[in-house]
């Protein structure tokens, strides 16, 4: 892969269109569906980068869990009703300027330094088996910490979202 394939441009356009639609659409449920498109585009980009496992994990976690969670949260907070005074905050211009500035800096950094990074173009032969071995070998401590974090997050989320009992006054 010396140059970028047309598939890459297609997927990049899909991802970015999904992202833009997420930010710009008014109806929150549409935003959630658009962000799903962005997630799917990213998963396909991962596959394009020969990272099968990460791509499928991306679909499973982001489309199967996070998107559904977002949708549930939107419905539970009556987010599907359009707010009266617009969806963008009063300081939207400032936000836009900051985002554009960040993109300018990042883009400049990428274009200025990417040629200095050594690149190889052979497709890495990585199987799920290797990933599993790495997870329980070299990366076993991070794995355990992530497990702990997920447990803590599950309990925390349940406690935070649980109905508060009526406190005696």
């Amino acid at each position: 892969m010396r140059t970028l394939s047309p598939i890459f441009y297609l997927l990049a356009a899909l991802t970015l269109a999904g992202g833009l639609a997420t930010v710009l659409l008014k109806q929150l449920v549409h935003c959630a569906l658009a962000v799903t498109v962005a997630f799917a585009g990213l998963a396909l980009l991962f596959l394009q980068l020969d990272a099968q496992f990460a791509g499928f994990a991306q679909i499973l976690v982001y489309i199967g869990a996070v998107a559904i969670l977002i949708v549930f949260a939107i419905l539970l907070t009556r987010g599907s009703d359009l707010p009266k005074d617009g969806v963008f905050s009063k300081t939207w211009f400032l936000g836009l300027v900051i985002a554009a500035g960040v993109f300018a800096v990042l883009g400049w950094a990428v274009l200025a330094s990417v040629s200095a990074v050594p690149q190889q173009n052979t497709v890495p032969a990585v199987t799920v088996h290797d990933i599993g071995n790495a997870l329980v070998g070299r990366y076993v401590l991070p794995l355990e910490i992530v497990a702990l974090l997920l447990t803590a997050a599950t309990i925390g989320a349940v406690i935070v979202a649980m109905h508060e009992k009526e406190r005696p006054r």
């Binding site: 990213l42 949260a73 690149q119 599950t154």
Partner: protein
């Protein structure tokens, strides 16, 4: 855009900027969380791209980072949305500029 790596990095940068813009511009707390998710995803794309085009893909570092980041992002989404729901239950709104009192 001379090399594939630059292409992926630019896409990631643009997606990061879009996510950041969304988080800064939108008023709804859930939309801010979605913006943060987009930013995390952009970072993941960077990690995977560096893993793919980096000198030692067999070391799996970038891939592992991405997988852990996906796991952490899932936890973050769960807790974040739980918080939004708790706040909504308290104040009856998920609009960030209306949640401006520290006293409940």
């Amino acid at each position: 855009m001379t090399t594939p790596l630059a292409g992926y990095l630019l896409v990631a940068a643009l997606l990061f900027a879009i996510g950041l813009g969304g988080a800064l511009v939108r008023r709804n707390a859930i939309m801010v969380l979605i913006g943060i998710e987009l930013m995390l995803n952009a970072a993941n794309l960077n990690l995977i791209a560096f893993w793919r085009f980096g000198p030692h893909p067999e070391a799996l570092t970038g891939m592992m980072f991405a997988i852990f980041s996906i796991a952490v992002a899932a936890a973050e989404a769960a807790v974040g949305l739980g918080l939004v729901i708790a706040v909504y239950r308290h104040t009856n709104t998920a609009e960030l500029d209306k949640i401006d009192r520290m006293k409940g």
